[in-house]
Symmetry: C2
Subunit: 373 residues, 2 copies
DNA sequence: GTGAAAGCGCTAACAA
DNA sequence: TTGTTAGCGCTTTCAC
């Protein structure tokens, strides 16, 4: 409905209309052709200065705003990128999203964002939706689903995207397989974990409780792997009682450590799988009347804001999340912009480093540790 | 480049092509017309069951993905909404963004997001960009700019959007004026501030330090106004020394309170203009060896995650941020979907309530308070 | 229930 | 430097 009449209009005057202002309207008002208006607006073609000002004036007076969809359709270029996250609140995702948004904006792209709420089917549907939008790149962040069916379905979408000249970017999540056309941005998850475990060992700790993080998912299981590796490298036996995996949230850290404390734990330090878990652990410790780091040392992972906000500040592994988001777009658009379909799937790994705050000290004497009084 | 050849193809067979798969390809494969494919896909028109399955099969086998831009152009419907925030990291914005994203997704819309980084000119440019995208609604969140030129420019955009059948939504930010076509979602900023001040008074406090928040911007100045109003209502004189406005960040809370503590302050409670400031204040207090709430009570505003994360938990004013985001989209799309151009600018105010945690107690005896030792 | 045809608003050859 | 002319891929009358 509300379509403009055909051009077969009896009068020679501009036809009276109510619809949106189009490039034709601007052209008419400026006394030039639509092509000239287009060229002026896009500035990718020589236009006489006088013509240019006439056009600009007409645009201003008419309040003309180009229709991005018409442009996308005709020009075969959308100037948008998509990002799919678990949840826009979670700082882990939010920082990556910030990097994506900033880099995209810097390259003149708008950013489509969608949240899965941890639902893998929604994730697939959202990738489709972003494909429909013909986004120049679709970035998938963190939190993968460890399910072969899912992997197959996502692989199909990666291929479809690639066939359509776009690209699926895996940001901080496991690969879909060697032959799947994706771009990958990862960080040294295992290395960071090994480094901070080694840091704890260097501070004199031998009995370190590993707390939190799912057991299965490869990306995050890497942290535990790094922990084990560091222990092994120093010849410290791994005691399975000291490996307490579970979830990634603050609540898990609080509750599990609370239980452990009630039973009494024989450890001098806690390595929480991420800062959220660490914050929960700290709460349990404080509640139990235990001081950090005097009674127990504590480290986290990710270097989220909460690590700096708790008291004492958390020594943790810094992950350059925002940088990863930027890198995701850089890589994706590099493939895109350089017309070469050459690079079948570039991939990059960013480094991590330890941020020292106040939560680590030498091992305390008395053990096992229990809730006080 | 890469355009398909004209239809004047010598052969009767499907022409060999490499370009994207279009609705025509699906139609050919299913042995129906493009119109039928369209109707099947949109499900808004009767299609024979047999035909439907043929089409669905063709879609699946070809891996066809509809082109949203072509659809938008032809159907005059984009199914996207836009949101402009200061920064995607800031929980205040992130929660509202979550509401917008969820409500939009629930209504089959995709969400375009962009961040201003506090730059008003960027904000104007981003609204233009979202207009180009023909977003069904453009939501502007918080952080307004107190500048008549800016207001005029944004007003122009609100009008342009309205003329184009879209709508500008002001979410938690001041009105552009009575005649500007916008939708507004606000919260009871002043009421919340009055309520929590009254809560403090009820707990026995008479000398309350108000800390943080810009002096100028109307939205946030409302908090100070509410504070004053509650004091006045109880007949407590306002002492200007106890009004310490400034910024909205954690750093401000920390540094300003630290200075005040060094000089000694004669107050029994602190009302921080938001939870960030409160967190900073708490840090300064802890560092000074003062206990909350034993030595000093402390309240915040917004009920951001940090309020629950610090120890002791902050008693604060809960602002239903996510709900505001949802409401923004509901209102905007209600105007949109009900074709009535009737509602010139609906507006809604959501309520706030106090969340009680552990940071408020009875007034301490000894005063003035100083840094200990 | 289905097809043919027109056109959404723009860009990109190709001429001039 | 500018205008003319085809479409981009889809939806939607209007017929049948």
């Amino acid at each position: 409905m509300n379509r403009r009449g055909s051009t077969g209009n009896g009068t020679t005057r501009r036809r009276a209309r109510s619809g949106p202002i189009t490039i034709e309207d601007v052209a008419a008002k400026a006394g030039v052709s639509a092509a000239t208006v287009s060229r002026t607006l896009n500035g990718n073609y020589p236009v006489a200065t006088a013509t240019r000002s006439k056009v600009e004036r007409a645009v201003r007076e008419l309040g003309y705003v180009v229709n991005a969809h018409a442009r996308a359709l005709a020009g075969n270029t959308t100037r948008t990128v998509g990002i799919v996250v678990n949840d826009v609140i979670d700082p882990f995702f939010a920082y990556i999203a910030r990097g994506v948004e900033r880099e995209a904006t810097g390259r003149g792209r708008l950013c489509l964002i969608a949240a899965t709420q941890g639902d893998s089917r929604r994730e697939l549907a959202l990738v489709d939706l972003l494909h429909e939008q013909r986004a120049d790149a679709v970035v998938l962040v963190g939190g993968a689903y460890d399910d072969p069916t899912f992997t197959k379905q996502m692989t199909k979408r990666a291929e479809a995207l690639a066939a359509a000249g776009s690209v699926l970017v895996l940001c901080g999540r496991p690969s879909l397989g060697p032959d799947v056309p994706t771009v990958q941005v990862s960080y040294d998850n295992e290395g960071g974990a090994a480094a901070i475990t080694d840091y704890l060992i260097g501070a004199g700790h031998r009995r370190i409780l590993y707390l939190g993080g799912p057991t299965a998912l490869s990306t995050t299981a890497a942290r535990l792997a790094g922990h084990r590796r560091a222990l092994a490298a120093r010849g410290i036996p791994v005691e399975e009682d000291l490996i307490q995996t579970g979830e990634f949230g603050r609540r898990f850290g609080y509750h599990r450590l609370r239980e452990l404390l009630a039973a009494g734990i024989d450890a001098t330090a806690v390595f929480a799988a991420n800062d959220m878990v660490a914050a929960g652990a700290l709460e349990a410790l404080t509640e139990a009347g235990l001081r950090v780091p005097a009674d127990l040392s504590l480290v986290g992972y990710d270097d989220l804001p909460v690590a700096a906000e708790v008291a004492p500040g958390l020594t943790t592994v810094h992950v350059p999340l925002e940088e990863m988001g930027r890198e995701a777009i850089r890589l994706a658009l590099a493939e895109e912009d350089s017309d070469t379909n050459a690079a079948p799937g570039s991939s990059i790994m960013v480094g991590t480093h330890i941020v020292t705050r106040a939560s680590v000290g030498p091992p305390a004497a008395g053990r096992p540790l229990r809730r006080q009084s």
